[in-house]
């Protein structure tokens, strides 16, 4: 479990201390500590059923934690009902009030707090989300993307300390989702409110968030910036859930200075010690990982041209698929049955067709090491708990 040190001056930080949730004998969220700094865009990323939505709902007050506390700045809000928390939520299916028009939906929170003369504020907010023209329409008369913007406006107009977003883009088609990702990021930068975003889409989390917490089975697996998570995954779940990783089981041959030399069959691989998250002792097992785009593919005939000092593996091309910007190869090798390699389509080597003998090689600095005691397949599309388009 990773926890982040709170920024000392942050009076508006969201602080979860030992917060957990159990339903009978099922633990939805294991007690976790998490601090979301004021003004940040924070994403809780994970497959359906990993506890990310439950965590969000505990912050909103819609779910009562079984243990632990929730604080907003200096205020402990654990026992406050939702309507007393300075927090607003954008719900997964928007939950717009169908009997009220767009104007009244957006004005709802202000009216409940007894604020007079809401017209100007509501109109400004509708302008911010580019819905000024639609004020007198009913929610069902708007498109999905417009409804989504109403949901954001309805929450933001209250100037909450924290805005919670529960899979807000899940119901939109791909193109609109991309557009809304940028839009939400723009709004967040503009208003400077803390956003906590729950999603199962790793690309969405990486595009939008400053900090991502990857959750799995009720625990935070790893927390960090998107680049940090991608380049230095600490677990196989993170390595596989964020993008794709090639994982090879290897044995520690020797440790020399800052480098670990490993053996996988008859292949020798080098791994920088700093990038190894597992204990190393000679003869011990380690999972060696490398991202598909870090690898260069050379035809076996040109093997002599490969510079020295690179990790190299030989294999045969099993399959290729051309996807425009890059070509994806699946390589059969003795150490890893399905090695994935992405090659930018700059100068395509026409000899690289299925059956061709190839050498894979990469800079050892791009190698990372993981504890071999974990499942190689955790977090891959086929493994339990990971489904595309999670059900509610």
């Amino acid at each position: 479990m990773t926890s982040k040190k709170s920024t000392e001056n942050g009076s508006g930080d969201v602080r979860l201390s030992g917060i957990g949730k159990t339903y009978g004998s099922f633990t939805a969220v294991h007690p976790l500590d998490l601090t979301v700094p004021e003004g940040s865009f924070f994403a809780l990323l994970g497959a359906s059923g990993c506890g990310k939505t439950t965590t969000l709902r505990m912050i909103a007050g819609l779910e009562e934690p079984s243990c632990g506390t929730v604080s907003l700045g200096d205020q402990d809000v654990t026992n406050l009902p939702p309507y007393k928390r300075p927090v607003n939520t954008v719900f997964q299916s928007y939950a717009l009030f169908p009997h009220l028009d767009i104007f009244e939906n957006v004005a709802f929170g202000l009216r409940r707090r007894g604020i007079k003369g809401v017209k100007k504020q509501v109109e400004e907010m509708l302008e911010l989300v580019q819905l000024g023209e639609q004020a007198r329409k009913k929610p069902h008369q708007l498109s999905g993307g417009q409804q989504q913007r109403v949901a954001v406006a309805r929450a933001l107009i209250n100037h909450p300390k924290v805005l919670l977003l529960d899979e807000p883009l899940g119901a939109l088609d791909l193109k609109l989702r991309r557009q809304m990702q940028l839009e939400l990021k723009r709004i967040q930068t503009e208003v400077g409110i803390t956003f906590i975003h729950v999603t199962h889409d790793q690309e969405e989390a990486m595009t939008m968030a400053d900090t991502v917490a990857v959750m799995n089975a009720g625990r935070v697996e790893q927390l960090g910036s998107p680049a940090d998570l991608y380049e230095n995954p600490h677990t196989t779940f993170v390595a596989n859930f964020l993008g794709t990783s090639n994982l090879i089981e290897a044995e520690v041959d020797s440790v020399s200075g800052e480098e670990i030399v490993l053996k996988a069959g008859d292949v020798k691989l080098v791994l920088p010690e700093a990038r190894c998250g597992a204990p190393t002792r000679t003869g011990g097992k380690i999972l060696v990982g490398v991202r598909p785009e870090k690898i260069t593919l050379t035809h076996a005939d040109d093997a002599g041209e490969i510079p020295a000092g690179r990790n190299r593996i030989t294999g045969t091309v099993a399959a290729t698929s051309f996807i425009g910007v890059s070509t994806q190869y699946v390589i059969d090798s003795s150490v890893c049955p399905e090695f994935e390699v992405y090659v930018q389509n700059i100068d395509r080597d026409t000899r690289l067709v299925p059956g061709a003998e190839v050498v894979l090689h990469w800079n050892p600095a791009h190698t990372f090491g993981l504890d071999a005691a974990q499942s190689l397949l955790a977090g891959t599309a086929g493994s339990a708990g990971v489904e595309e388009e999670a059900a509610v």
């Binding site: 007050g61 719900f91 299916s93 939950a95 009997h99 709802f108 409940r112």
Partner: protein, 313 residues
Amino acid sequence: MSTLAEAEAPPPLAPAPAVPTAKPPRKRGRWTPYLLLAPGLVWLLVFFAMPMVYQASTSVQTGSLEDGYRVTWHFATYWDALSEYYPQFLRSVLYAGSATVLCLLLGYPLAYLIAFRAGRWRNLILILVIAPFFTSFLIRTLAWKTILSDGGPVVGALDSLHVLDVTSWLGLTAGDRVLATPLAVVCGLTYNFLPFMILPLYTSLERIDGRLHEAAGDLYAKPFTTFRKVTFPLSMPGVVSGTLLTFIPASGDYVNAELLGSTNTAMIGNVIQSQFLRILDYPTAAALSFILMAAILVMVTVYIRKSGTEDLV
């Protein structure tokens, strides 16, 4: 259906000399909608439209049982009936209205409970709501006669709590009796029509997305405000259909007033029934029926307009 078939027909190309254009090609399924409608239409024609016409003609007839009745377009029957029996009309509206309000007050919390809080007991409670229908309407009303009987436990309890003093003072009961008073009739009506209120209320409450309650709470609405601003407005279709399903049959009912009331609590249904079956003054009975029908139609139309259901989702 037929427009669809026409749209699918290929556009006319070259003139086809062999086939005269006057004969359109046979369209499949053209008669299907009418065939499907036919049984219902025939039923309504025989058992609804024809009796209506017959009653309408009866209401403008004059004559006597011995000499027979003839249509004389005697519309004065309407005026006579209305001027003689308007107290019963008003009483019907009053009793049915009170029963409807009571049904709403009793039924709403129950429907709310079934829809949102009952959990696994939901189906059981729904069955209990419908269960009284397994027994005859008449038997159930007769049972109320026993429940409210003089000197019975209910009356005794109400008496010792001095409730009867208050209701007597309000004119709802008479002395230490509950039976044969307006209260008894309204209680009977409320009881008999309660399921007609609960079921539509339940249906419309059950359709409300629970996340709307969460959203309202998230937007600073206290639980009661959530009810007032979100739940209740969204349940309006149920409130409207429930009140209609209660009020309309209650205002024409005569069984409750007959069994639980007295001559002082006679409703318009009792008048119509006795005109038809005892006094055998068919024109007056028919005229009263039409007046009742028209009155209900007007009230219902105004009510639906006022409650603005067409704006609701």
